[in-house]
Amino acid sequence: MDRNRSLIDRSPFGRIGTAAFVAVPIVFLAYFFLYPVVMITLRGLSVDGEFGLAVVRDVLEDPTLQGVALFTLWQATLSTMLTMLIGLPAAWVFARFDFRGKSAMRAATLVPFVLPTLVVATAFLTLIGPRGVTGVDLTGTLAIILIAHVFYNFAIVVRGVGSYWERINPALEDAARSLGASRWQVFRTVTLPLLKPVLASTSALIFLFSFTSFGVVLLLGDLRHTTIEVEIWRQTTAFLRLDVASTLAVLQLLGVGVILLLYSRYQRRTTVQFSHTASPAPRPQTTGEKWAVWTILSCSALLVLLPLGMLMGRSLVGPDGGWGLANYLNLFDLPTRSATFVAPIEAIRNSLMFAVAASLLALFIGFLASAGLSYTTPRVSRSFDIFVMLPLGTSAVTIGFGFLVALGWPIDIRTSIVLIPIAHALVAIPFVVRTTSPSLGSVQHTLREVAATLGATPARAWWTIDLRLVSRSIAVAAAFAFAISMGEFGATSFISRPDSPTMPIAIFRLLGRPGSAPFGAAIAMSVILMFVTGFAIFAIDSLRASRVGEL
């Protein structure tokens, strides 16, 4: 009963312990995230050390940069609309029907979402790039960027909207039917209004991801078809215009802030609890239903599997045109950079090491943050939540760029190798929090109370009840963090050292070299990366059998 106050605290660690839970993530994020962002902002808004808007004016008046900004918004809008349009039918099928192989297919839809952007981009290069098997070269067009974004974000619609849809009681739709509404009217007057918050929050999320898209646009776009994110990178690495890059980063942050605000507003509304616990969905009954389900599923499967299948197939075609493992063997001796010779295969070892370190760090900080979120008062928790989630909205390029700009103080760690796992952890922390905090928060308070009446001290009750109940979600979070670190490209592209490339960096370098041997090796490396992250995803999905977390 809610009206009963309880002597059993939610937090078993008292006020001081809980405060420590909140403090550690705050200090970490303040130094590695907030401080760099502030430094970027200061740099963008100053001229020769004085406050001034000269650079901002220059940037705003530059027609090329105006074009970049417009294109960024335009492609994000189109990507969002297209993804929703293509994803909704699949979300409906997954929410309302049961069919053979459903859980495997659901897992498969998640693969693109966690696939490294470089792998996705490479996959589309093998399909519709200059060396593509179809013979059609769409690189440098809006179309290829949209296709890649749809492929990439399809899973968010299927899983996000789908699982929400599943929880809407079908009896509501049946009731509308029995009151004389046609199928279409039911959808328009009952289903759609109920789905509204999740449609809005999902759209905002897809818009955000497309708005800050980096790897895909860098490889598939051109100078005109580019995003602010890529432009920040270009201004820094090609023109060394740190002031312009900073200004662009500030403008992008503003845009991201607005999108995030919209997102969190709608996201909050999706936490409405439906009394309906998803009952097993029926198999398609009528011929019409069967056709619809079959068509939608085949199209979805084609969308997800075609580029990936092509990537795998193409990886087996060697530089001389013959079938075989030549591309994979090339990974052992092709130099990624002529100056410092590193065989691409070393990148695999680097990536694995970084990913383990980054996952541990992200789990540590993220779990403390989750505990802090669950055990503080709702007011503290809400603002803390926004703070911890900030890195999710901030583009990876901004994080990497910020490290370069800011982390010379108090000791210069800008060239240190620890920056890479730290940057990866920053990107992964919001995912860890989103995965673990709902399950920590949903541990029924009566379980702690009954443990107390059975003689468990608060600490032992936490250890034997809470921690055990969330252990599964911690494992899911670890797999997520691992996959994110393996594929991270935006931030890494700023801070990786030539002699210790990660797999995405190695792929990027190989793609930038002339000749078919490096291209083949890049594809082979992409396939390996795809399998490593894919394995993590299937681990996530099998762990998620009992639905933990929001993601």
């Binding site: 109370e449 009446t453 059975l454 468990a456």
Partner: protein, 325 residues
């Protein structure tokens, strides 16, 4: 073991949830607390278990004041209405949890756990997960878990509240037998008088945070002392005593066996509704003189709207209170 509560007050903000509760339950007694929802029954149990902070007063278990003892050191077992079984543990692991917390060696606690599962008829269920159990099996698991650490006092909060009607009284009898077998002192909270009567030796009626009547079930039935208590324990027909006997005053309850439909009856009314239950009919008869609805049992139901005559046996009358209210 015995429980003695004195001047117990529980507040929530400005509101008083429990006001000046005094209660003593003897060792080995099965006590029931009955009252409508919101009366404070659960809060009282939670205060005894040490889960709800108390404003003032004393709670003594076996003569030792435990008001300032934290819940996990009180040795007061509480069985929750939704059982609160640990979903990540097997049935046996659930049952032995309290023994584990008490530091009982693994071998011993498994043996004790299996004994208890046997006692509640779940000997084969040790390895099962709580979610795979039926409601009744979950209830028995929760009971075994509560009893395992041999608590000084067992509190049961609507333990049968979420079960099928048909199952309730079977499980109630089992629960009672199990508590008797281990010699536990217990307090059983319910809103259902039939459950309370079937469970307890002695009971209390609770209303608005206070105990309004304490006694044996038969005592309370025959001498409710207030209209609220009379209605709580299931008296349906309350009329001013003067309606039946000119010389009497106050409010009376007529038990169903004391009222029959008879052509030559001295009383009369209009039938408003007839319902079938327990192999007979219950007629709701509106009596215009006192404007009350009386429930009269019969085997030949009159039709609705018909005027019927009935007779009341004055010997069966139970005086509820001296005032007519």
């Amino acid at each position: 073991m015995s429980l003695t509560i004195d001047s117990l007050i529980v507040t929530l903000g400005d509101a008083t949830i429990l006001s000046d509760i005094a209660l003593s339950v003897a060792a080995g007694e099965r006590f029931a607390i009955m009252g409508p929802s919101g009366a404070g029954k659960s809060t009282l149990l939670r205060a005894i278990a040490g889960l709800t902070p108390i404003a003032s007063g004393s709670i003594a278990v076996a003569g030792r004041d435990v008001a300032s003892v934290p819940a996990h050191k009180r040795s007061v077992g509480l069985m929750f209405q939704d059982y609160a079984l640990f979903p990540h543990m097997s049935v046996l692991e659930n049952v032995v949890y309290g023994l584990r917390m008490a530091g009982v060696p693994a071998k011993q606690r498994v043996r004790r756990g299996l004994e208890l599962l046997d006692l509640v008829g779940l000997a084969e269920f040790g390895e099962r997960r709580p979610e795979s159990l039926s409601g009744g099996e979950q209830q028995r698991t929760a009971l075994a878990r509560t009893l395992a650490p041999a608590p000084s006092l067992v509190l049961l909060d609507e333990p049968l509240g979420s079960l099928d009607e048909s199952l309730k009284f079977v499980l109630l009898a089992e629960t009672r037998a199990t508590l008797e077998a281990v010699g536990a002192t217990s307090i059983y909270v319910t809103h259902d008088p039939a459950e309370a009567f079937a469970f307890c030796n002695r009971m209390a009626i609770m209303d608005k945070g206070a105990l309004v009547r304490v006694g044996r079930p038969d005592e309370i039935w025959l001498d409710p002392q207030s209209e609220f208590v009379a209605r709580s324990v299931g008296h349906m027909n309350l009329v001013p005593c003067g309606f039946v006997r000119r010389d009497a005053q106050g409010l009376c309850a007529i038990p169903s066996e004391g009222i029959v439909i008879r052509g030559d009856g001295r009383f009369g009314g209009i039938v408003e509704m007839v319902t079938f239950a327990d192999g007979g009919y219950t007629c709701s008869v509106r009596v215009p003189e006192v404007d009350v609805l009386l429930a009269i049992r019969t085997h030949q139901p009159p039709s609705v709207g018909q005027h019927v005559s009935f007779e009341i046996d004055p010997e069966t009358l139970i005086v509820v209170s001296a005032d007519e209210v």
